[in-house]
């Protein structure tokens, strides 16, 4: 028997600290090489592999539930995070680094992942490639079900698995020696518009193409382009597929310390005293920080433009805690184990206060006050827990009531929606250190590096110039990383210890202590006439912001703005109270308030249709906004009560709108008419099953006008390639690629001629960051302008070199500058000339761009469901999203965004919910009980990109990332209504909730 020890540990087995840990030796074959390693006995295989520099194996949860840490163990897929390293001794371990053998060469599986766009953030790329490899080796011709089963233990929050499954199918086919078709958009005929009144069906070819290929409805007014609009592989796809060390945690720093945050066990308490002496006395502890030794500087954590919206209701460490998991103290120590032990040794005396969790209870008289401190300014009504109040209306109260009085039918319902967590596979992580000039460097998984730099500065007492924030690749954000959430802690600890500091949230902390979507109670009253035209809409929202008000005003303003803008209606009013409770903190989340509002608006539309005996699609068509319609409530929302008088001509207007085409494509794709067939709805051979189809539609924005700004800088190199520097933050969605495509198009070169550097506050120009669906539209505008500036320098020189009088006559394409007479010069030669030969000049272009409009993208989304009436189980068979995102700059990344959003919003509809116990503690802080969809239970997801030409966007583009988040939940709810006749007005549609609704069983207790 082998016994893996060198040294005897603490005999009682209690905390071995502070003694030197006992090391054990193990023999492993890793990627074909023999290793003899020492590690701590409790180390997992994950820890040991990462320590060896095999960074493709990543932390996702520490519970085997996320799959980011999957490796091949004697050829079989296992989770390295739940395998004891010692147990692996003598075995063979394979990671994706084993495939990275020759420069530039890709394994066929990796190639397929790159080609079809299967990787967004790529955080779990290594695990997925290995799963595919194990599968294909055992089963050269796997079925879709087998592929999905093989992927079922690797969670992906980004792709909806559609392109991942297709990548594996392509790889298997390639390996069998079959020819795989090129990745090309499938072009669908338009169904509406001039000359197409009759129903047309797509060609047989189009219907056969895999859904993972982007399906596009072209618009005739879109110019032909060379790079824009093409399904280019992402510029970072290769390094992601290879599992290269590109994420925050994928670096080795000498003398790095580990940070750990002590978190509140109470939902609401005052901290009377903290005794950190025992923690400090623990060998290996270098710093302990808490309210007693850090400055009290008020701030708001939301990563937003200066000045951050009020109230600034947080300090880094407060003497009061407001939710279970709130910060109490933080420790820096030699190892994570020591830091954890030190946290346990901090003695905190709490005065426990009663908590309040429900938003409606929180505004009732006598509710516990979450923010009773005196130094927070700008709370709307602290005595009633109201952080903000938002109002907006297009007519006076009297006119609104008159409109309701004149309406033939008035509908009113109350809807409840829950807190949903972003659950990015990579948790929040920041590593900080002092550089050679003692400047603070923060390498952070953030969507807003520039906001972080500005916001962290006053907390640490450093000028902005002493701070550099670097955003490497990040493993998913979805709004959760539009926050300055942990960087301040890392900053304090770096300054206190002068050593590098690493702080990564555990999965449990990510669920409980990061951010989530606002829970809301929404009451919607709508008046309609007999034809189904809306005559009055009145929404009242009570929105739960949790313990802090970050994003409270903006999320709720934007949510109401979009929810109330999809339909034409002569009288609209929106009111919202944003309410503090002792729940986890709500913040920015993809959709930014719109999914909640659309759940109410779009659910009620179906109820109206039902009551009027109309088809819900027809009802929507009648009321949908069109090109030229004003966005009348948009400029009127704010913290004021009165109607803002705005001349009609000053209202923002819709300049492109594909809603009607989206409706036609979406209903075709889902087979809408089946919903009217009773024999389909109630299949004879399955007595407990009811089927149904439902719809939801949505509008969103493209950035925030006059606020969001991006900048870009471009320079030419000796060989005619270009460096592009952008502040824009690629969170996996592909903005680096899309911006480079825009630049390549303007400069007449190929995508591979553009070398992208993004999101480093020392190097790249400013950008507000990745949020509000702004990157393509706003930063894309900057990229286009910067490229045009460089182009102007290029054509000037080209005209001189080609002896032309008019630089305006020079065209750039095929990497050359062309005169009207057909003579040309390569950009490489032109670059050499400009850099070395005559009248030397670094050809550059730099530009900024901010939106003066926020062109709305639209989506029509549909769901086909089966409801088991005995168990209440809702199984979604198919989801369709037809989206108008203007001209998709890259149909692969655009359709990938849509597919991912569909599945993320399906979780919102069916399973995801932050559940607290009576004391306010989160009970489902793990991926098992907090259920996000897996490859094997995801429905068929079909994305259709309906092109429109948006005059205000770069090359006609609008935003794509958020709008497909909005309509799925109501579509599912409406499909359940179609199937069963039962209205479930609370999310998520858990089996028990649906069962109770079907059987009229009230909840006991």
């Amino acid at each position: 028997m082998s016994e893996l020890t060198e040294d005897k540990g603490a005999p009682d087995g209690g905390p071995a600290l502070p003694q030197r840990p006992v090391m054990l030796e193990l023999d492993l074959t890793i990627n074909g090489d023999q290793y003899r390693l020492t590690c701590e006995p409790g180390d997992t295989l994950l820890t040991v592999l990462r320590r060896l520099g095999l960074f493709s194996v990543r932390f996702g949860s520490g519970t085997g539930e996320s799959g980011a840490a999957a490796v091949l163990f004697d050829g079989r897929l296992v989770s390295a995070d739940v395998m004891l390293a010692g147990q692996a001794s003598g075995h063979k371990v394979t990671t994706v680094e084993s495939l990275d053998v020759a420069t530039g060469e890709l394994d066929p599986i990796q190639q397929a992942f790159v080609d079809i766009g299967a990787l967004q953030s790529g955080y779990s790329a290594g695990a997925m490639v290995l799963a595919a490899r194990a599968l294909i080796e055992a089963n050269p011709d796997p079925s879709e079900a087998e592929i999905r089963d093989a992927l079922s233990g690797i969670l992906d929050r980004e792709t909806g698995y559609v392109k991942v499954v297709e990548a594996i199918r392509r790889a298997a086919a390639a390996r069998r020696g079959e020819k795989v078709p090129p990745v090309e958009p499938v072009v669908l005929e338009p169904l509406t518009g001039p000359g197409s009144t009759e129903r047309r069906v797509p060609s047989a070819e189009a219907l056969q193409a895999p859904l993972a290929m982007p399906h596009v409805v072209l618009s005739s007014d879109v110019a032909i382009t060379a790079v824009v609009g093409k399904p280019e592989p992402k510029v970072d796809a290769l390094r992601l597929a290879k599992g290269r060390p590109v994420f925050t945690d994928d670096i080795d720093l000498r003398h790095m310390l580990y940070a750990k945050v002590l978190r509140s066990p109470h939902a609401h308490a005052r901290i009377l005293a903290i005794d950190d002496s025992e923690a400090r006395a623990l060998p290996g502890v270098h710093a302990v920080i808490h309210y007693g030794n850090t400055p009290r500087v008020k701030y708001a954590t939301g990563g937003q433009t200066w000045p951050n919206p009020a109230p600034w209701d947080q300090v880094s460490f407060d003497n009061k805690v407001r939710f279970v998991g709130d910060r109490v103290a933080a420790v820096a120590a030699e190892t994570l184990g020591i830091a954890e032990e030190a946290c346990r040794r901090i003695k905190v005396t709490y005065e426990v206060l009663p908590g309040v969790f429900d938003e409606v209870e929180a505004i009732a008289p006598g509710a516990p006050l979450v923010h009773d401190e005196t130094d927070t300014e700008g709370i709307y009504d602290a005595a009633h827990n109201k952080s903000h109040h938002i109002e907006g209306q297009t007519v006076t109260d009297e006119a609104l009531e008159a409109a309701f009085a004149s309406a033939k039918h008035v509908f009113q319902q109350t809807f409840h929606v829950q807190q949903q967590q972003h659950a990015p596979l990579e948790p929040h992580i920041t590593i900080g250190w002092l550089d050679d000039d003692d400047r603070l460097v923060l390498r952070s998984s953030t969507q807003v590096p520039y906001h972080v730099r500005r916001m962290v500065a006053p907390l640490l007492g450093l000028p902005v110039r002493r701070i550099r924030v670097i955003k490497p690749r990040i493993g998913g954000g979805f709004g959760g990383k539009q926050e300055m959430l942990i960087e301040d802690i890392v900053g304090y600890l770096v300054l206190a210890t002068r050593r590098p500091i690493r702080l990564e949230l555990t999965r449990s902390e990510e669920f409980a202590c990061a951010r989530c979507r606002h829970a809301m109670t929404l009451t919607l009253r709508t008046g309609v006439d007999d034809d189904g035209h809306l005559v009055a809409q009145d929404m009242h929202v009570v929105s739960n912001t949790g313990a802090y008000g970050t994003h409270g005003s903006t999320v709720n303003t934007v949510g109401g703005m979009h929810g109330m803008s999809i339909y034409n209606c002569p009288a609209k009013r929106f009111r919202c109270d944003v309410v503090y409770t002792n729940r986890p903190v709500s913040g920015a989340f993809r959709g930014y308030g719109a999914p909640q509002n659309f759940f109410a608006v779009e659910s009620q539309m179906d109820d109206i249709a039902r009551a009027l005996g109309m088809d819900p699609y027809e009802l929507r068509r009648k009321n949908w906004v069109q090109v030229g319609d004003p966005l009348d409530i948009v400029p009127r929302l704010g913290e004021r009560g009165d109607v803002v008088e705005i001349p009609q001509e000053d209202l923002p207007r819709i300049m492109s709108c594909g809603l009607q085409e989206c409706g036609a494509q979406g209903t075709r794709a889902i087979g809408w008419e089946r919903r009217n067939d009773p024999s389909w709805r109630q299949p004879a051979d399955r007595p407990t099953i009811r089927r149904g189809i439902g719809m939801g539609s949505a509008i969103q924005g493209s950035g925030i006008p006059f606020v969001d700004m991006g900048a870009c800088s471009i320079k030419i190199n000796d060989d005619g390639s270009f460096n592009m520097l952008v502040g824009a933050t690629d969170v996996g969605g592909g903005s680096d690629t899309v911006l480079a495509q825009i630049v390549a198009e303007v400069l007449g070169v190929e995508l591979k001629d553009i070398i992208v550097t993004s999101s480093d506050t020392d190097i790249t120009p400013f950008d507000v960051g990745a949020y509000a669906s702004s990157t393509t539209y706003v930063s894309g505008g900057a990229a286009k302008k910067a490229a045009e500036a460089a182009r102007a320098r290029i054509v000037t020189r080209a005209a001189r070199l080609l002896d032309l009088d008019d630089p305006g006559s020079v065209e750039l394409h095929d990497r050359r500058a062309w005169g009207p007479d057909g003579r040309s010069i390569s950009l490489g030669d032109l670059a050499l000339n400009s850099l070395h030969t005559e009248d030397q000049e670094q050809i550059m272009g730099t530009a900024s761009h901010y939106g003066t409009a926020s062109a709305p993208p639209f989506a029509v989304q549909l769901a086909e469901v089966e409801v088991d009436v005995e168990t209440g189980q809702v199984t979604v068979k198919k989801l369709v999203t037809a989206i108008d995102c203007g001209v998709p700059i890259n149909p692969i990344t655009a359709s990938g965004q849509v597919e991912g959003a569909m599945l993320q919003s399906l979780g919102y509809a069916l399973t995801e919910d932050l559940v607290l116990d009576a004391s306010g503690k989160l009970v489902n802080d793990r991926f098992g009980p907090y259920w996000i969809f897996r490859a094997d239970d995801a429905p068929v997801c079909e994305a259709i990109l309906v092109q429109t030409m948006e005059p205000s966007g770069p090359f006609g583009a609008k935003a794509v990332g958020e709008v497909p988040m909005d309509g799925i939940a109501p579509a599912v709810r409406n499909a359940v209504l179609n199937a069963t006749g039962v209205k479930v007005n609370q999310l998520p549609l858990l089996p028990e909730r649906v069962w109770r609704a079907l059987n009229n069983v009230p909840t006991s207790g």
């Binding site: 028997m1 016994e3 020890t5 087995g13 997992t44 897996r934 239970d937 089996p991 069962w995």
Partner: protein, 294 residues
């Protein structure tokens, strides 16, 4: 902490003797989660993965003898799957490929979670569990091994060695209700065996009590009503009575996943469907799945 890598039971016992506070570790899929959450800091672990006697399976007479170290993936392999269809169905719903490749039946027993997916099947098959230590071997029923949530009667140093179950016994069904089917802890799971030769129905319920529950009254009732010769499906009235008896056998609690009411209701639905499928010869997937699997 010490890590022992014995290759035989004798060595495992020796390791335990050397270090009486040691914990046994099989696939680690339960144990390591606790270690990672710092809920457990064992002074020593004895890894069972390489212990010869715990590996593989064999047929002895009318019994299948499973080594405690058998993984779910192995249970899904064609030959064993035919001999033990109920266990195969249950295995298919466990976790993910990674978990099925590492997790073992011995570990499912050792963890003794009320939601453990192999447990109702073992209970319905009247499995015998053989445990051994330095001081000898004993064989016990599931109910005598698992006596409470996460509580077993294993003496210190006792290793689960093998599980003995009848081969290819009658018709077997396993059904599970969760928020979704796999990787979630079951809201309710049911294993049902119709032993045509022995003329009895056995029905075990998981996740609706502190331990797996055999619905004895329901079993006796329906076994007496079934037309064993003709194999005709039970009448609606008998099915309803059976379901009601199953529900009254359940002892569920409220938790965040579901209320006791719903658990009691669902366990009845599962049992009713399992019985129905036994007669209709419907061997569909153990739990309702999406179109990919059908």
């Amino acid at each position: 902490m010490l890590v022992f890598l014995p290759v035989s039971l004798e060595e495992a016992f020796d390791a335990f003797e050397q270090c009486p506070d040691a914990h046994f570790l099989a696939g680690g899929t339960d144990f390591m989660v606790e270690v990672n959450f710092a809920l457990r800091r064992p002074p020593a672990v004895v890894c069972l993965r390489r212990v010869e006697e715990l590996q593989g399976w064999r047929v002895e007479g009318s019994e299948v003898v499973l080594g405690a170290g058998i993984t779910y993936t192995e249970l899904l392999a064609p030959r064993l799957g035919e001999l033990l269809p109920g266990l195969a169905q249950a295995s298919r719903t466990v976790g993910s490929p990674q978990i099925r490749n590492a997790g073992t039946v011995g570990g499912n027993l050792g963890t003794a979670s009320p939601a453990g997916d192999s447990l109702p099947v073992l209970a319905a098959l009247d499995a015998k569990i053989v445990v051994a230590s330095k001081h000898g071997r004993r064989s016990l029923e599931l109910a005598d091994l698992i006596v409470g949530p996460k509580r077993t009667t294993l003496a210190p140093g006792e290793v689960i060695v093998e599980v003995r179950v009848p081969a290819a016994l009658g018709s077997q069904q396993f059904l599970k209700v969760g928020t979704r089917n796999a990787m979630v802890i079951a809201v309710a799971n049911v294993a049902l065996v119709a032993d045509w030769a022995g003329r009895s129905v056995r029905c075990a319920l998981g996740s609706v009590g502190p331990v797996v529950i055999r619905a004895r009254e329901a079993e006796e009732f329906i076994s007496a009503r079934i037309d064993w010769e003709g194999r005709t499906p039970p009448s609606d009235g008998d099915l309803a009575e059976f379901t009601a008896l199953v529900r009254s056998a359940a002892r569920p609690i409220d938790d965040h996943r579901s209320t006791a009411d719903y658990r009691r209701h669902s366990v009845g639905v599962c049992a009713e469907r399992a019985l129905g499928r036994v007669f209709s010869g419907d061997n569909r997937e153990a739990s309702e799945r999406t179109s990919w699997a059908s």
